[in-house]
């Protein structure tokens, strides 16, 4: 009983992890908590859903399209809503990104209504001893792993990735070295939303969803970021695995409805005791 649900939770943890990685990347680069994260996760779900229903394209191929759209949307959001208040107090960026949240949810509710959808796509399942796993879960975890590796290669091996890290370390110095810092901020915001959209697209292959579904994954992303240390993308992945493991283990001991109680209590406690996260990060 415990082992299957633990494995299940860990696989989910990878997907939670890349959503949180997006949030963490944005925080790390520009100290902005992106409160429009949830609706973008939901848009990723709808992206896969719409393309799959319209032309029946394989969801995993659609993800590439969803990723590009997520990147462009993020760059747009940065220039419209965030850029003007990037140096203002936290309240301004929190509210600016939250207003984007309201706009997306408002339009999304009008267009898609709030009735639940699901992507009618299965790949069967595999049985290993006591464990039966649907292939969609395994592929989602693999895809999340690939995305993580690509992100790290981008940040550490390519010029724009190095520029983003320079901006993270010291924005003024990066500007003096001739790096177009504003575009790097826009690009990092785009990468953050891209990760959110991809995770949404992956979740859509195995869970039903509505346009409001992003909210709960956004809250999970907060918990994960705090577990792994805000601003530390790799920490976010590990935090995601931790949260997934918790979600797998807790139901073995008490009712499933207690899971969010423990999650949020843990969240507040970690914020209080170790605001830099369990894994720590440069502050």
């Amino acid at each position: 009983m415990l082992v299957p649900s633990l494995v299940d939770g860990l696989l989910l943890g990878f997907v939670y992890g890349i959503a949180a990685m997006g949030l963490s990347l944005i925080w790390g680069v520009m100290n902005v908590i992106n409160l429009s994260h949830g609706p973008i996760i939901a848009l990723g779900m709808f992206g896969v859903y719409l393309v799959f229903n319209a032309i029946g394209l394989n969801p995993y191929l659609t993800l590439v399209l969803v990723a590009v759209m997520g990147l462009l949307l993020g760059i747009l959001i940065y220039w419209v809503a965030v850029h003007r208040v990037i140096n203002a107090p936290h309240l301004s960026t929190l509210l600016a990104t939250f207003s984007v949240n309201m706009i997306i949810v408002g339009i999304g509710t009008a267009v898609f209504t709030t009735s639940p959808r699901n992507v009618d796509f299965t790949l069967g399942s595999i049985t290993l001893g006591p464990i039966t796993l649907p292939w969609t879960r395994i592929l989602a975890a693999l895809a999340a792993g690939v995305v993580t590796v690509l992100l790290y290669l981008f940040l550490y091996r390519t010029p724009p990735g190095k520029a983003i890290r320079a901006v993270t370390d010291n924005r003024a110095a990066a500007e003096l070295m001739g790096i177009p810092t504003n575009w790097m901020l826009a690009l990092s915001f785009g990468l953050g939303t891209m990760l959110a959209a991809i995770s949404g697209g992956l979740i859509a292959t195995f869970f039903p969803f509505t346009i409001l579904a992003g909210g709960s994954y956004e809250l999970k992303s907060f918990v994960i970021c705090v577990l792994g240390g805000l601003g530390n993308p790799l920490g976010a992945l590990i935090g995601g695995l931790l949260l997934g493991a918790l979600e797998g283990i807790i139901p073995a001991f008490m009712e499933t409805s207690w899971v969010p109680v423990l999650e949020f209590i843990l969240f507040v406690l970690i914020l209080l005791v170790r605001p830099q996260g369990l894994l720590g990060s440069k502050t």
Partner: protein, 324 residues
């Protein structure tokens, strides 16, 4: 104190709340006007309470609705299960919200900026998730007020009026308290914390205590309003009591009117609720009222961060005497 009470700014703010409160007595369709005004007064009360923490002290509480919900639950429980009177329930609801704020305050007010905002979201979600599992409060289904309870207040119709009048009076008290805090030595300390917490401490403001009391004060009234709201509503459930969205709407109201002013949250709350009402009944905007509100918020944040009253005070210094 007597000098404070001579300020025209205070009387203008109070007069506006009184005008709202008396509106149903003058309107043609009294019950309809009462319901509309009730939502406005509730919004004014929540926004003005939040302003004590957000506007004066500069701490952004994203989960402030937790006090409204918790107060509502405690008061509701006392009325429904123990048959206590509404007045006692209101007091108990307010005190339990204040107690939660006091216990939390010492801990989470150590966090600054975005970390504090995140922690308040976490607290709201934790309490909501807990109440969903807490059987004495009805778990996920919540509680419904027995119809007999209203009999003690002279029938449901009179009970609704009592709840309304109590809310109006409470809102007046909140505005008065908001003004008194702002013009007091305590308020000066809070504003010093807002501008620069370290410098304030050097100047002798005991920041942890001042912040905690500001937090307690801004939690007390939402707890009381919560009891009145759910008494009027007749039932309470976790999904209605801890809506994260309402927390943020309250922040929008404060921002719209002008954070850190007494009049700002009153006008901001009234304008926001009015706008929301208009959008909800308009055939064109009914479905996307949330998006319209979002665009409005974005415009305020980007271009008028001081809010309407803040902008007027900056633009026309002479108005500062009147627009407190």
């Amino acid at each position: 104190m007597s000098k404070q009470l001579k300020s025209p700014g205070l009387w203008l703010s109070l007069a506006i709340v009184v005008a709202f409160g008396l509106w149903p007595a003058l309107a043609g369709n009294k019950a309809y006007a009462r319901e509309t005004t009730f939502t406005i007064l509730k919004a004014v009360a929540l926004a003005s309470s939040l302003n004590i923490l957000l506007g004066y002290t500069g701490y952004v509480s994203f989960g402030h609705i937790v006090f409204f919900g918790l107060g509502g639950y405690v008061g509701f429980y006392l009325m429904e299960v123990h048959g206590l009177h509404l007045a006692v329930a209101v007091l108990a609801g307010g005190l339990s919200a204040a107690l939660l704020a006091f216990l939390l305050g010492k801990a989470i007010l150590r966090l600054r900026g975005a970390y504090f905002a995140l922690a308040t979201i976490g607290v709201n979600e934790a309490v909501r998730a807990f109440i969903k599992n807490f059987d004495p409060f009805g778990g996920p289904i919540g509680m419904t007020l027995n119809f007999q309870v209203y009999k003690a207040y002279g029938g449901p119709d009179r009970a609704l009026w009592i709840a309304y009048i109590a809310t109006a009076l409470l809102t007046l008290v909140i505005v008065l308290v908001s003004f008194l805090v702002k013009t007091s030595r305590f308020g000066l300390g809070l504003m010093a914390i807002r501008e620069n917490e370290d410098a304030a401490e050097v100047m002798g403001v005991v920041a942890p205590n001042a912040k905690t009391w500001a937090y307690v004060l801004s939690a007390l009234f939402p707890g009381m309003i919560g009891v009145l709201f759910f008494f009027k509503n007749g039932n309470i459930e976790p999904g209605d009591a801890f809506v994260l969205h309402q927390s943020i709407e309250a922040i929008v109201m404060v921002m719209l009117g002008g954070q850190g002013t007494v009049l700002g949250p009153i006008l901001g709350a009234a304008a926001y609720q009015r706008l929301r009402g208009l959008l909800l009944v308009s055939p064109l905007f009914k479905n996307i009222q949330l998006a319209v509100a979002g665009v409005l918020l974005l415009i305020i944040v980007l271009f008028v961060p001081a809010g309407v009253i803040g902008w007027l005070r900056g633009r026309f210094p002479r108005l500062r005497r009147v627009l407190e």
